[in-house]
Amino acid sequence: MEDMKKIEMKTQDAPVRNHNFEEVSLGYTKKEAMDEASRCLQCKVPKCVEGCPVNIKIPEFIAALKEDNILEAYRIISESSSLSAICGRVCPQERQCEARCIRGIKGDSIAIGSLERYVSDEAFKNGYESLPKVSKINKTVAIVGSGPAGLACAYDLAKEGFDVTIYEVLHKAGGVLTYGIPEFRLPKEIVSAQIEKLEKLGVSIKTNIPIGNAITLNELQEEYDAVFIGTGAGLPRFMGIPGEDASGVFSANEILSRINLMGSFKKDAKTPIKHAKVAYVIGGGNVAMDAVRSLKRLGIDAHIMYRRSEEELPARQMEVIHAKEEEIEFHFLENPVKILVDEENNVIGMEVVDMELVEEEAGGRRGVREIKHSNHEVSCDMVVMALGTGPNHEALKESDIILTEKKLIQVENGKTSLDNVYAGGDVVTGSATVILAMEAGKKAALEIIRRYTGKYQSDK
């Protein structure tokens, strides 16, 4: 019966970790990894592979792991994913591979994400990273944005011999992996290692360059054989309620950028982060969890306010569990309607209404509405908006690329309306996940490879 339970990954104790920015999950020991791997039934028709957006051959890598062959396990994962140490940590496995696992019907699914992480970390520690031999084909690609979509696209193109240049507006590459996801969930050395791997493959990364201003998309189209746009969904949303321009109201992007990109959590940091006593983070996604847990670690009494109920929380399950252990207080079915300020425009609280769930909206999520006359006040001196992000089209200036009604870039098989321009990730789908952005980057890479090399033509 023991086989029914998965081996939980050990973590730092909650009362300790909610005061530091070191990684929460400590990773499997070898014995734990082997024991967990041995639970895999090695299905002949593995459903888990279908659940993975990049179709990693999961039973095969687990079989190699069972034989203690990390090198082979890592090779199998790397065939499908260039960012596995990252995905093992941040993918919502409970909705993807692990959701399809046969073991999950009667007990716990195999902890596929934890095994992926173990294999990737071990491979990295032992220097198993084997870069493919590349012969250059004399074709050039410019990639706009160095987030997961751009990195995945760059990796697949570089392997095929393309000369790839990534343009990044910030001073550090990685996009949301660098500025957004905190150290305690995704250590930055792992992100840097993935980026170094790309550079070793010959990819050139140019930071500090705002495409659209420094170089226009038209100029990139002229200069390169193909262009991939993976600029993400960078524009933070606000609620449009009174008082939102108060001095203690921030976007989650700002809080996370100050902490992750600028290192404001360190004592000697040169970029400030606002001192606060009580903070409310509005929203229920991964970004909200990242923001609230970061604020908690700065010694702030940190709360989540989410207008739906716990069941609808869009965040990755593990992040919600960890947040609760870290004494984050959750307020469900409540929503602010006004930010209360003093005469200096500092936040002193919020006026909040209760909400109730109604029938399903298009897309399957429960709708929600305000309960009349339920207004009440809460005290706080910081409010952080984590309401999702919209597309940021600075890079598209002066181009006549076609957008959808939702102002996202219109693509067909990764290709935009412009001849040699491809796009993928949040700039095409709206804000989604790291793995979906990666998948889109890979798909676009495949289209570019097909078009410029003639390889991998589909059977149709």
Binding site: N208, G234, S251, S257, L261, M262, A269, K270, E344, N392
Partner: protein, 283 residues
């Protein structure tokens, strides 16, 4: 890393920096800004572009030391860790000079606000505009780049708070006296000055463009720190601006938002002064 050719003091707390930044200036236009970082762990500082030379790839910036990060910037001499840009929208007159051919234009600058005024007036002079400048500072010593602006402007009115050079008083005193000569105004300088200029020109129905410099982190539309209220709606100064119609800006809100990190910045300045040693203090 970007090579620094010059980083020298030109007046009390005011510095001129010249840095080689080919990618930044290749498509730069008057009115845009850059973000600089002194070192790898430094704060990102937005600065409007003062001058650029597309033949030599040299970007010139003028900045005022006001806190820890600008103090640190004033101490570096070999390399600048980062220059990102150009950012923001270019000045609308410089983008479409043909639409403004019949306008009588005055630029009103305060303090280091003269730096971003210079490339605009220079550009417009090259497009056959006669531009007047009203330039104010606290005292004579703080009037910067006088020879430069005199070489591009039709006429320069100087004004100092203490009367040590030009008229005594504020730029608004001179503007009110001369306003019948103009039908378009561009003003760049301290928020309170831009607010007062905008209030004056509103009275006389003279369109006024202001260049805002709120707090920023990334400068590319990602963080929203720089949001301002324009015509009652939130706009991001980094990508929707930095220039806006002065009559639509909620200046009082913006002035309050400039104080968000007042306490934190005080601490950082003390720390920086300690780290850099006795000789480096904000004067």
């Amino acid at each position: 890393m970007y090579e620094i050719l010059k980083n020298e003091k030109i007046a009390t707390n005011c510095y001129l920096m010249e840095v080689v930044a080919k990618d930044v200036i290749r498509n730069a236009k008057p009115g845009q800004f850059v973000i600089v970082m002194a070192k790898e762990d430094s704060e990102r500082i937005p600065l409007t572009i003062y001058d650029y030379d597309k033949d030599s790839d040299v970007l010139s910036l003028i900045y005022q030391v006001v806190g820890a990060s600008t103090l640190e910037l004033s101490t570096i001499s070999k390399n600048l860790f980062a220059v990102s840009g150009p950012l923001g929208k270019a000045n609308e007159i410089c983008v479409h000079p043909e639409l403004f051919k019949d306008k009588k234009i005055v630029y009103i600058a305060g303090g280091v606000g003269i730096a971003p005024v210079y490339p605009q007036v220079k550009y417009l002079k090259n497009h056959h505009f006669d531009i007047d400048i009203i330039y104010g500072a606290r005292e004579k010593e703080l009037l910067l780049i006088q020879d430069k602006i005199e070489s591009v402007a039709h006429k320069v009115f100087y004004v100092t708070d203490d009367g040590s050079y030009g008229d005594k008083g504020f730029v608004t005193n001179v503007l009110e006296r001369e306003i019948q000569n103009y039908d378009l105004c561009v003003t760049i300088g301290p928020l309170i000055m831009m607010k007062n200029v905008s209030e004056l020109t509103r009275k006389y129905h003279v369109k006024t463009i202001v260049s805002l410099n709120p707090l920023m982190v990334d400068g590319s539309g990602m963080c929203g720190a720089c949001r301002c209220e324009i015509e009652g709606k939130p706009k991001f100064a980094c990508i929707d601006g930095p220039e806006f119609d002065g009559h639509q800006v909620n200046f009082d809100l913006l002035i309050k938002r400039m104080h968000i990190y007042k306490e934190e910045e005080k601490e950082k300045l003390l720390q920086m002064e300690k780290d850099l040693g006795k000789d480096c203090e904000v004067e």
